[in-house]
């Protein structure tokens, strides 16, 4: 019966037939990571030691979030403040010593081959700007007790990647074999012995047509990709959630079926609260329409009354952002904001600004993005078990005291 459906459903907010299932009772004792953290900021984990701790929130030894007030307005998110989230133990630093010798296997094409990064560099070159965002960005706003990092806004950044377009690479290898429906990328992390590799490995399938815009990247924001962000080689699929952008990629295969690795079959699936993940549920692929305010950030000192430049970022993995509106009264009234800086392409985010004169008092400031196809960023989150895909403007609002 599944055959009736077109190849694959791309996850979009409206596809979610997700009801308000009962919260899992067993999680009653859960406490947000942010509480545990309040006692004192954790140090940067070794794999991210080069980052700027003062502009990051360290959730755990594998998860770092950019502070809302740290993004700036230059369009690109500096690598030293870019969020990081690793699923497995980071490979040894030696793999980035000489990126050109890193090997990758390409399969599901007419002439399957093993190539190294040095070879890839001769086959094509492109640079893309895309928002890199964790599927669970905004999880910290959900009311039910979700496990996983309690990200607020900062598991996202706008990044520049350079590498070989998959299209050019595939052409060089004789084209994709007939009947293939997915592009499946496998990470090069070492799986500890004693575990079924499929249970923990990072292997993600996306609709094979994503190949049109995907690149195998070796450069991030002007430098070789650091280990923390997947160097020496990372699959970059513009407009798709972070997990699909497989780090330390060692194999890309065009396949008939989605991988049966747990991270694909049960992980990153949108389902009602309390339900287990399954391959029939929507997968976290294309990112939805979203924006949030980055200044005032809301959690710092009161803002001085007078003229204030309210600014933020807006992005979409689907129909591109066309306009942004800002409200300073919690969504009662909306005002058209103005884009600032260059347009770096449909998958990049755009900074926007609205100058407002604020008298002393308290304000609830938020933004909503509007796409080319007329879609408007929704007010509310869609409840779902793992806290994925949050783009509701109400939860993303900042409370600002002006004096």
């Amino acid at each position: 019966m599944e055959q009736m459906k077109p190849d694959v459903d791309v996850y979009r907010r409206r596809l979610l037939a997700v009801g308000a299932g009962g919260a899992a009772a067993g999680l009653a004792g859960w406490s947000p990571a942010s509480f545990a953290q309040a006692a004192g900021a954790k140090p940067l984990p070794p794999f991210a030691a080069f980052k700027d701790a003062s502009r990051l929130i360290v959730h755990s030894s594998k998860t770092l979030e950019t502070r809302r007030d740290a993004f700036g307005t230059s369009g690109i998110t500096d690598t030293d403040i870019l969020f990081a989230r690793n699923n497995l133990e980071t490979p040894d630093a030696s793999v980035t010593a000489n990126p050109d010798v890193w090997e990758i296997e390409i399969d599901g094409v007419t002439n399957p081959r093993k190539l190294n990064v040095g070879d890839l560099k001769r086959m094509g070159l492109a640079t893309v700007s895309t928002v890199l965002q964790c599927s669970g960005n905004g999880r910290g706003f959900f009311a039910h007790k979700t496990s996983g990092s309690q990200w607020k806004v900062g598991a996202a950044g706008n990044t520049l990647w350079s590498g070989v377009p998959m299209k050019a690479l595939v052409e060089e290898l004789g084209g994709v074999r007939g009947g293939m429906r997915y592009m499946t990328s496998t990470g090069g992390e070492t799986i500890p012995p004693g575990l079924d590799p499929k249970s923990v490995m990072v292997e993600r399938s996306v609709p094979w047509t994503a190949m049109e815009e995907a690149i195998l990247a070796w450069e991030l924001n002007g430098r070789p990709i650091p280990l923390a962000h997947g160097g020496p080689l990372r699959m970059i699929i513009p407009g798709y959630y972070g997990v699909n952008n497989v780090k330390y990629v060692k194999r890309v295969a065009f396949t008939v079926e989605e991988t049966n690795a747990h991270i694909q079959s049960a992980g990153y699936r949108v389902r009602p609260i309390g339900e287990k993940g399954a391959p029939t549920q929507p997968s976290m692929w294309e990112m939805n329409l979203k924006s949030f305010i980055t200044h005032p950030a809301g959690d710092s000192a009161p803002v001085r009354a007078g003229l204030v430049q309210v600014h933020g970022v807006a992005f979409s993995g689907g129909s591109p952002v066309n306009a942004v509106e800002v409200s300073i009264d919690g969504g009662k009234n909306w005002h058209a904001a103005r884009f600032i800086g260059p347009n770096l392409g449909r998958y990049a985010w755009r900074d926007f600004v609205l100058p407002v004169r604020l008298a002393p008092g308290s304000y609830v400031i938020t933004s909503r993005a509007i796409a080319d196809d007329g879609e408007v960023q929704p007010e509310l989150r869609v409840e779902n078990h793992r806290g994925y895909g949050h783009n509701g403007w109400r939860d993303h609002a900042v409370k600002v005291a002006v004096s």
Partner: protein, 103 residues
């Protein structure tokens, strides 16, 4: 002082049972569960240094959270209900919650 004393007495009276539970919990954590918890998790009290899942010393989960994770699984962690006996689950939950500090 009185609380400390009371706790001391309780400890004196309890050891055989508590120690047995702890012993079993540790064994489930490091050997009996398949895959063993220790392969993926760091927990000082068990001498475990796994890095696939979160460090339990860092996460400090309470009893209810550990129980839910062990029974139902979470993220890539598989459910252990049906794979471990009720006694083994009780033991490993008490051991982890006790050792990791979330009680």
């Amino acid at each position: 002082m009185r609380i400390v004393l009371a706790a001391g007495i309780a400890l004196l009276l309890a050891p055989p049972l508590a120690a047995r539970g702890d012993e079993l919990g540790r064994k489930v954590f490091t050997q009996i569960a398949q895959p063993a918890c220790a392969i993926c998790h760091t927990l000082k009290a068990a001498g475990a240094v796994g890095t696939v899942g979160p460090s339990l010393d860092e996460l400090r989960p309470d009893r209810a959270r550990v129980m839910d994770a062990v029974k139902n699984g979470v993220g890539v962690m598989p459910p252990f209900a049906g794979k471990l006996t009720a006694e083994q689950i009780e033991a490993v939950v008490a051991f982890v919650a006790g050792a990791a500090g979330g009680q």
